[in-house]
């Protein structure tokens, strides 16, 4: 029973963390262009002259 006092909040906290991360990425537009994200790995970065 004593273990539960720690384990349950930890389990819920981790779950909430995941949920928060998902909402964050949703708001940052990470899911707006799924097909494009897969292709961007092939894009050669140009040397930017700042």
């Amino acid at each position: 029973m004593n273990g539960l006092v720690f384990l349950i909040p930890i389990a819920l906290g981790l779950g909430l963390l995941g949920l928060a991360a998902f909402f964050w990425s949703l708001r940052k537009g990470q899911f707006d262009d799924l097909d494009g994200a897969a292709l961007r790995i092939f894009v050669e970065e140009e040397e930017e002259s700042v």
Binding site: M1, L4, I8, A11, L12, G15, L16, G18, L19, F22, F23, L26, F31, D32, D33, L34, D35, G36, L39, R40, I41, F42, V43, E44, E46
Partner: protein, 704 residues
């Protein structure tokens, strides 16, 4: 240059196909000093630009075409509220919340099922309640709202048993928890919401995806015209901002953005999108011209008489509005199922409650059993059965080049048994193609190519396209000059060569061009609108599917006859939009389900009236808006594929319904007997949902 002064706008760029395109656009566009940032959205084939406010539209589109891409501005402002996409995101948030809650409650429930008792069980039940109640309040909102709306109008939809079930189950579980009872159904209630939300979200994603594709295709939105101001300077005006008495400069190859009267210049107009007529029409000053027609020949100046909603197509729009009402009466299969299902579920639950009360079980146990019946019969698998199958089918069709606008389109498409097909632009390519190029020798071909590729005139582009097939290199020519309305002239090996309007006029109204060297005609090339390459196969395949086809054309009989003969079809010719609409309504009255395939403005009402409708990607914007599906590319075979896929989808949906009913046939008696514990409910619900989704996934490889 401050960041705040930048203007942002989205552009549809249909030709983004690979990673190379992304790099080219994002790195190429910002080289233009006026463009501060460019971001490609590959999924929606859009580019988001931030640019200096004094940059005008042609310059921006020029920046795209400089990189070899065709771009069309979308909408009018930077952040047009996209209500539909917002609904989708809202649903996704609800899915995420209910998924999170479901997993955590399950974590607690598993320990209860595996034997936790006494204080531990009570604690776990209280924790479950603490997670479940806010989740139900948040994620269940859309169900409660829709159920309330239905009840207020005295109707019952699928959301009514869902809402009652969830609320009742939560209330009873809370009571159980408070009194230290053995069973709490929080996991079942949240799981039900999670699966149902998944179904709704899939449905809305499908609509979003097709809408994204359609907006990328819509050319008219944000198109416009170069307008000649009073001070003699020209500027770009969006189509929506055009007003009567403005004077538009319409270059060759440009579409008219508004109705008007020609005030300067003479040209030929392609009316095929407006009337279905394939032969171009000559226009001269003081003649009326209409929005949506394509200027073929020479630049003209047009005084606007009506713009936007006032154009001659307003009549067509009115017809379309009336025609579309029939379609809105169509009831989707899931809703039809719900009409039978909802009363049945309520009756069952009520019977269970009454039965156990009579048997003397006490109101507490009876209510618990009734709730178990409600939650076990609740259409968890049913909610997923239709959207899962339809989104898989729509995804497969999209890869085959067909955009399906929504699920009901697939359902209606599966039922068609008669097809009306437009000729110009649908059975044919709807653009001029050079014929008989193979009879010229290589020297002539290379000379033609050298001249034609220097021009953006529609006929030159057709020539260039045609000659590319012959592996010809352009000849070396110098001093190329184009005279609008007459042709292209250049110097070649010391003589003057010219590609342009034929000197002899025995060709009648047909489109033709001529190559002359030192004023002597060397070659005459005719142009014609060709059949799509697989028109015959597609019509035959349609017949094998049991869909009879017939041509409805606005063109003259002489122009339609050869096409009809070649395809072995009967045809009705010279039809106005009203005639086409009536033809469909006559057949519909006879009980036939008509599939309308067409592209033009004149097909708009017919497309809206057809039981289902498909338009090619080259169609007019009105056509694309009115149609249920859009197929891309030159082949018509996708039409047949869409019909086949729709039928297969419908078969899978029926199987899914059978599976769900079969599951209920087993589960309901158990629930009636009071044997359904939360554990059984959880297994039954997730099991049936997985089976239904798995069955839907079989559609993925079904397209050939």
């Amino acid at each position: 240059m401050s960041a705040a002064a930048l203007v942002e706008r989205d552009f549809a760029v249909p030709d983004i196909r690979c990673a190379g395109c992304i790099a080219k656009l994002e790195q190429g566009l910002v080289r233009d000093k006026r463009i501060a940032a460019a971001r490609v959205n590959f999924t929606e084939k859009r580019v988001h630009l931030s640019y200096l406010p004094d940059t005008d539209m042609p310059a921006l589109i020029g920046a795209f075409s400089h990189l070899g891409f065709e771009a069309h501005p979308i909408g009018t402002g930077p952040d047009e509220a996209d209500a539909e996409a917002e609904t989708s995101r809202e649903l996704l948030r609800a899915v995420a919340v209910s998924g999170f809650a479901m997993m955590n409650i399950m974590l607690l429930s598993v320990s209860v099922w595996s034997g936790a008792a006494g204080a531990t069980r009570d604690l776990f039940h209280w924790l479950s309640a603490a997670i479940a109640l806010p989740t139900v309040a948040y994620a269940g909102r859309s169900f409660f709202r829709s159920a309330w709306r239905a009840l207020r109008h005295g109707r019952a939809n699928m959301d009514v048993p869902i809402s009652i079930g969830v609320v009742l189950v939560c209330a009873i579980s809370l009571y159980e928890t408070a009194t230290g009872g053995q069973h709490a159904y929080f996991d079942g209630a949240v799981m039900l919401l999670f699966f149902l939300l998944c179904g709704r979200w899939l449905d809305s994603v499908m609509r979003d995806r097709a809408r994204g594709g359609v907006t990328a295709l819509l050319r008219n939105m944000g198109s416009g015209a170069t307008v000649l101001g009073k001070d003699g300077r020209s500027r770009w005006v969006d189509a929506t901002a055009l007003e009567p008495d403005m004077v538009m400069l319409v270059a060759a190859g440009e579409r008219l953005a508004a109705d008007g009267v020609v005030v300067g210049g003479a040209s030929q107009l392609d009316l095929s999108l407006l009337t279905g007529e394939s032969a171009p029409q000559s226009v001269h000053p003081d003649e009326r011209v209409h929005a949506g027609t394509l200027n073929l020949d020479a630049p003209i100046r047009v005084r606007v008489t009506a713009a936007g909603a006032d154009t001659a197509i307003a009549d067509i729009a009115r017809l379309m509005g009336e025609a579309a009402q029939g379609k809105s009466r169509y009831v989707r299969i899931a809703d039809r199922a719900a009409r039978l299902y909802a009363p049945a579920v309520h009756c069952l639950a009520l019977m269970a409650f009454a039965g156990w009360m009579v048997a003397g079980a006490g109101w507490h146990d009876s209510l618990l059993i009734a709730a178990a019946v409600l939650i076990i019969t609740c259409p968890c698998a049913l909610g997923l059965a239709v959207p899962a199958a339809q989104i898989v089918a729509a995804g497969a069709l999209m890869r085959a080049g067909v955009l399906v606008k929504d699920g009901s389109a697939l359902e209606r498409l599966a039922e068609v048994d008669l097809a009306f097909v437009d000729k110009t632009g649908t059975l044919t390519l709807g653009r001029p193609e050079a014929i008989g190029l193979e009879r010229f020798d290589i020297g002539v071909k290379s000379l033609i190519l050298a001249l034609s590729q220097a021009s953006r005139h529609p006929l030159s582009e057709a020539l260039t396209r045609g000659l590319r097939r012959f592996d010809v290199r352009p000849a070396e020519v110098t001093l190329i000059a184009e005279t609008p309305g007459f042709g292209i002239e250049a110097q070649w090996a010391g003589s003057t060569v010219k590609l342009g309007r034929p000197q002899c006029s025995d060709l009648g109204d047909a489109l033709a061009t001529e190559l002359s060297v030192e004023g002597k005609a060397v070659a005459t090339i005719r142009f014609a609108d060709r059949l799509r390459p697989d028109a015959r196969e597609a019509i035959d395949a349609l017949a094998r599917e049991g869909v009879e086809a017939m041509i409805l054309s606005g063109d003259r009989a002489e122009a339609v006859a050869p096409v009809a003969r070649q395809l072995g079809l009967t045809a009705q010719t010279g039809m106005s939009p009203q005639d086409k609409l009536e033809a469909i309504q006559r057949q519909a009255a006879l009980g036939r389900k008509v599939l309308m395939v067409g592209d033009g403005l004149n097909d708009g009402p017919a497309l809206a009236a057809g039981h289902a409708s498909i338009a090619p990607g080259s169609a007019s914007d009105v056509g694309k808006n009115a149609a249920d599906c859009i197929f891309l590319g030159d082949r018509v075979m996708p039409v047949v594929q869409a019909v086949r896929m729709a039928r297969r989808t419908q078969a899978v949906v029926r199987q899914n319904f059978l599976l769900a009913i079969g599951y209920n046939a087993v589960a309901v008696p158990l629930a009636f007997m009071g044997l359904v514990t939360p554990l059984v409910a959880a297994i039954a619900m997730s099991g049936s949902s997985l089976i239904v989704v798995g069955n839907a996934l079989r559609l993925k490889g079904a397209i050939r």
